[in-house]
Symmetry: C2
Subunit: 199 residues, 2 copies
């Protein structure tokens, strides 16, 4: 006999939809949730709340609870620089450095023609419009240093070049705390190619 009550089976099925969650992890999560019913209720409310309230900022496509995110509404930010990232998480990471004071633009992924992801599936035209409509001095292309991220950065550079805006790409090289002898050849090649004068 299947000893799992229907509601537990339903919960297991939903949990197994999550990335990185297999049957065993789902079972452990169920056990935890049923042992902590008040935590489970808070989790349910948080999931439902976020799913209902969170949207994309209509300007930069960061996650927001209003039409425009708090960053886009912040008069203290430098509106002349836009940092283009693949997803909100990458923007969070850039922001966490505390070194960036401009705005962001979330693409929603990378170009991936083989899987049917073209410029229309991303927020490319909104980015071009944004650059044309506003006084933008620099667009930092901060897509990931992957084949797809590189291709997307090159595509964006091509469509943005006619606007005359300054286009930059984040630097690639060795990660801080890394070991030269452990670095892969592509990283090391880029690190050499991107060398700068010491002063």
């Amino acid at each position: 006999m299947d000893l799992r009550p229907p509601s537990v089976r339903a919960l297991l099925e939903e949990l197994e939809q999550l990335p990185g969650v297999g049957p065993r992890t789902a079972t452990r999560l169920v056990q935890h949730l049923l042992r902590h019913p008040s935590g489970a209720r808070r989790l349910a409310a948080a999931v439902a709340g976020a799913a209902q309230i969170v949207r994309h900022c209509r300007e930069c496509f960061l996650l927001a609870e209003e039409e425009r995110c708090r960053l886009c509404q912040d008069p203290a930010r430098d509106r002349e620089v836009i940092c283009v990232v693949e997803d909100p998480l990458n923007a969070w990471a850039v922001e966490a450095t505390g070194e960036y004071s401009g705005l962001y633009h979330v693409l929603g992924g990378t170009l991936d023609p083989l899987h049917g992801v073209g410029p229309d599936e991303l927020t490319v035209s909104a980015l071009v419009e944004r650059v044309k409509r506003n006084v933008v001095g620099e667009v930092i292309l901060a897509t990931n240093p992957t084949v797809e991220g590189e291709a997307t950065a090159h595509y964006l550079a091509r469509v943005l070049r006619p606007t005359g805006v300054r286009l930059t790409r984040i630097a690639f090289g060795l990660p801080a705390g890394g070991e030269i002898s452990y670095a892969d050849q592509v990283t090391l090649t880029r690190s050499l190619a991107g060398r700068r004068g010491m002063d």
Copy 2:
């Protein structure tokens, strides 16, 4: 600026309460949930539903949606054998062998005096009552083959011996230090078949 909207922060906090979920996994889960709002709503409903409806069977303490679980209500089960397990997952694993036709008793953990878990924190007295009240021919002690599981089995043997019931312990086909719910079905079947009297 913290780019995460309040509802996203709240969701991250709740997700990080889950076992095995750190900040990075929580962030990935949030990204997945916000990309699949209908799945997120289903998950929220499943968590809330299970947390509300699931209780412990008042007889065997398996997870149930009624006072008594479906297994305890099943006239086809052998009511003279009780398999004592630490938690519902272990009962699910034993049941999945298809080799067991008796009832279960879920302890709710193991004795752990150092952390304040004594017999009163487990369902020990309910088990003793159950054995005294019913015609029970055998109690299979199927706690985990860990130090705590062994100690708990020996304790149970001591308190159940006066009832005159036959006490057995699952065989050590299981690797020591392991977890019943991680065992493959063949190992678990052998372990059930090889159970021996406790003296």
